[in-house]
Symmetry: C2
Amino acid sequence: MTELKQFAENIIIKTKSLSLVTHLILKPMPKFSFLLLLLLFNLGNAQNTRNLWLQYDLVTDPVVLRTYKEQLNAVDIRSAALNKQVIQDELQTGILSMLGKHLSFTSSNAEVVIAKLKDLDANEKQQVSKTPKLESDGYIIKTIPKGSKDVILISGLSDNSLLYGTFHFLRLLQLHESLSDLDLVENPKLSIRILNHWDNLDRTVERGYAGFSIWDWHHLPGLIKKEYIEYARANASIGLNGTVLNNVNASAYILQDEYLDKVKALADVFRPYGIKVYLTARFSAPIEIGGLDTADPLSSEVQRWWKDKADEIYNLIPDFGGFLVKANSEGQPGPNNYGRSHVEGANMLADALAPHQGVVMWRAFVYSDEKPEDRAKQAYTEFIPFDGEFKDNVLLQVKNGPIDFQPREPFHPLFSGMQKTPLMMEFQITQEYLGGMSHLVFLPQLFEETLQSDTFIKGKNSTVSKVLVGDLSGQKVTGIAGVSNIGTARNWTGHPFAQANWFGFGRLAWNPDLSAKAIAEEWLKMTFSTDPDFVEPMSTLLLNSREAVVNYMTPLGLHHIMAEGHHQGPGPWVDGLAREDWTSVYYHKADSLGLGFDRTASGSDALSQYGTEIEKAYSKIETTPEKYLLWFHHVPWDYKLKNGHSLWYNLARHYQDGVLKVEDMISTWEQMQPYVDEYVFRQTQMLLNIQLKESKWWRDACLLYFQQFSNMEMPAFIPHAKHALDYYKSIQRPYAPGIKPSWD
Amino acid sequence: MTELKQFAENIIIKTKSLSLVTHLILKPMPKFSFLLLLLLFNLGNAQNTRNLWLQYDLVTDPVVLRTYKEQLNAVDIRSAALNKQVIQDELQTGILSMLGKHLSFTSSNAEVVIAKLKDLDANEKQQVSKTPKLESDGYIIKTIPKGSKDVILISGLSDNSLLYGTFHFLRLLQLHESLSDLDLVENPKLSIRILNHWDNLDRTVERGYAGFSIWDWHHLPGLIKKEYIEYARANASIGLNGTVLNNVNASAYILQDEYLDKVKALADVFRPYGIKVYLTARFSAPIEIGGLDTADPLSSEVQRWWKDKADEIYNLIPDFGGFLVKANSEGQPGPNNYGRSHVEGANMLADALAPHQGVVMWRAFVYSDEKPEDRAKQAYTEFIPFDGEFKDNVLLQVKNGPIDFQPREPFHPLFSGMQKTPLMMEFQITQEYLGGMSHLVFLPQLFEETLQSDTFIKGKNSTVSKVLVGDLSGQKVTGIAGVSNIGTARNWTGHPFAQANWFGFGRLAWNPDLSAKAIAEEWLKMTFSTDPDFVEPMSTLLLNSREAVVNYMTPLGLHHIMAEGHHQGPGPWVDGLAREDWTSVYYHKADSLGLGFDRTASGSDALSQYGTEIEKAYSKIETTPEKYLLWFHHVPWDYKLKNGHSLWYNLARHYQDGVLKVEDMISTWEQMQPYVDEYVFRQTQMLLNIQLKESKWWRDACLLYFQQFSNMEMPAFIPHAKHALDYYKSIQRPYAPGIKPSWD
């Protein structure tokens, strides 16, 4: 094996798919110097953005490289019937690409052993006997002595655990970490780690900004696209284990035989990567495709129809995950249509799935058509009475905040209130309210804020994360869902940095207590470069990016003041829609006195849903964290914030800070050209400039609008707006991505 | 310069965009043997399908390679201010990739001189003094003596002519042709060579099967995607010089200021590649975005609105091409809405564009809502009375046949009838009626059939091609349009072989008399391999593929018997739609007596529109070419065709032959694995299997349906259909690509 050959293979691998070409790259080659390899590699930073964070860049530090090469020659994969080939291909690809050498796969003299616990030999078993209890997907990576040398053991209970361990092992190399004296134990803290695709059968994607759906339903099951394999591999690499293929606003059509054959084809592709498929079930499917005249969950023919449908699905896909349901929300059908409750609806589906170990993920995103109650309160009001009544295989899927994926929301009060029901977190990875594809926003920062929020339900430090993983309630089924930001874009996500949000969601799904900072550093190193001159400033940039978007869109607890329909751009003036709680004025309540939604006892009293500790702290303006100020209070324009300046001044200050932060991001990025692919550099540069333009649009439109109410002068640090308010009001985006397409 | 460096660069170039990295690949490198280069290259056939036919594969024949390398060291690019960089990058990329060596760009001792005629020196001018007259885009490639050695001169009148000459020169190398004693003169036979994108502003594509629109309008003008450059380069390489960016069923919105800025951004990207942008103009735009209450072409305010709009566009885009218009057709607005004629409408727009040298391409695809006349006759009836009345800068854009892009149609009678009006050909590259993305159909075969059809208008051999290029009428403006099959698919067109149809259209647009066979061979060599063991069988496969689809869909002159709406799959039973001439039964007229549409004097008399020679020949069943039999005649089921068998027998025979041809294609393809990229191999294999399944679907559904009328036994060679007719009738495709998306 020569370096030159390795280099060539390295490049070839990056340009081709893994498994298809592995056999091609094993032919013998003449020998050349290693210098060459380095020289060639330094020609440019050619990230193939299709490969996401699995760039497997050549290790350029000669010491690290030599050490790794000495440590790794042969691997013994003993178990993993399901995905042995996937594990082997991934190791071969990764090691070849990072170290420029081929591994042997052999049972003798291997430095790495990959085997299920039950397949370890007596000595190995002895060495790991003190390992903490492993979950099904959990694994250990442990250096053990074997004869005269050290062996790295990757072990766990299931085939998938070995796959996860393998990806973790490769990640150590990507991060240039030491492979000596390893002693890692990893258990996923959540059992269902899943993407929700809001993908329609016609390939449009609701709130999708990365092009269109990667599911080419029309050509399935006959055409299996390379994308499907790449998708599964990427998810597996970060520990995701499920995917809901279709939109929560669902067509019943996907439950028809013809489509189930297509779903099965995808499930077959995904299985070796540990990814289960799930479907959104439209509650009225028994009528629409079943020919029944009701979908009443108490009707025995409806129950039988779902039971038969479940049997049919599991006959095709024995490891089918289950159903996601959006019922009686925003026009979707549900049990309420028949005078039945959410529990009756969810339990009926749960009964159909239970014999097959399937789950129902019932969305809590419900707000009534009729009740005039503060929308932030409604899901809590609706579901709390049912706490404890759901079947064991039902999870209630709750958005992170009580409104709808805003740049900042306090955590959803169901996380503290609903203590006898398994709750799943629903995050939105696609940036519906955070600038679509054009804005660089590192979402793990947002996710971390929610996950580390303290509910106080079992005293201090009762974080949402602990609720989710079941530490406080002991719930057995646990889960987390992320609304996908994946599409047909050549780099999967449109914005090159939106890949970080997919990655970050996956890492937090495995361990909700990971820090955003650690995730940022991992992602930057795996995707671009381990050079500290790149990682440090870029990590800072990522970690500041979420506060930037909050500032230039919805500072100080403002929320839901975006433009109507497409949700891109500011729209604080939005009023007079079919529902009051779809308007902006409903949420910001600007008037001559002040700004903000009084959710204390003197207002909607939504605050009371949070329990006494929080209620007590937040009931007064002066003890409410300023980041939630206008979420909970209607604050006078001249009210003095902690810095001694008025609300109006601070509002302007935050908007301006948001804009300035984007300018900082642009300056930082200009310095990063040496570390990134030329096109990624320019693409990001262009996108940051769009973001800057749009941050000013938000600032100018919102400040001009609110100034009408504050009647106060614009602070001097705010540049004169380019246009009058009417101009901003007149901006329309009828063809914005992610909304219902309109053919003329 | 060493081979190894060249090899590395070769691979790197293939994985990255051209111009962005050219500067990176010029660093010095140590020396290694050329053997290595070949060994490495033979590791696999790694076509990067993004590069289409510009693969620039390393020349593997050592003699050819050595000869080329000796012949090419330095190039002198003297002119081409507009696209000098593009020409230089393309040469550098192509030569580096094919020969593994760098060119110098210098004025001294160059073996290739690229210069406009006016920039040639006296000796060079003398050498080319006998060159036939060049058109603006035409060029010569000529070997001339210069001192003691030969020099290859690439010259023409315009910057773009040098670009076209350069691509031709590189193609010679791709085809492994000799570079000695070159004496080539190329003039494009048509002046407007244009793609029509049926792309909507929301990125859906009407009848688009390769994903969605590559125009990311929302992020323009801020985000310039690499795709735009690649698209322009691909088009330039085959001589296309224009693109209509938006659907013929147009939104007026694209003419608004905000969108014109986006259009300008694309025009700026395309300009160095010689591609002009055009827009579809919605006739009612003065109302929809202009605030007028009429779009009457005789209204002076309407005329002024269009004049102002044209001025505005040309102010942004000085070389804007002009407008395409679909008026008073399938619900689109037009002059008829105001009691005005097509001439009045077209000329009004022509007047607005004339000061800027813009053209109007007015579509002849018109069939009245009211007239009960045979639809095949209506465009002719509508437009013939206006012959000679259109302004000089109006072209009438006529589909190849009188119905609508069917697998086979006789040529459109306007090509013989409309002799005083410039006619443009409109071909459909996207396979609306030919299997969408799933079927391998080499369309240049279809295009050639139309182009070489004899109109007899100036005696024998008055081909449609001669009409188009103006040889028979002397028209000054000439053109050809192809409805694009390009989308967001990773390989641009979905089916890897659909790339050949884009390529073939471009080659025929340059020279409508090229043979389909020559085009097939060029494309196969440029895209995959020059190995005769690949090119010969695959060329046969391509050239047989169109007759296959005619046979399994619409043999013997049948037409328009596809499923409703999405046009995928058979639907001979389609009846009872809002318009009779949208149904299938209208076209096949099957009854107990026979099958086919009588278009002779005893029927609709559409035949009379073709002139006496054709009318005479086709008026009798026995002298009508069998391929058009049921287009012109209602033929008895038991009528004996030339082979002595009945119509019914022959119908079945053709359907079965179509299926068998697809089976042949599959067998041939199985042998091609050594020559093509592994994924392309598998992808094509999967698609061919879909095609086979669908060819059987067509055969079984159509024969079962027609058997109801023939009442004759199914010939023994037809396998028993898997399902009864009702099953085939029940098949629905509500989410098929290319149709209006439906959100549930």
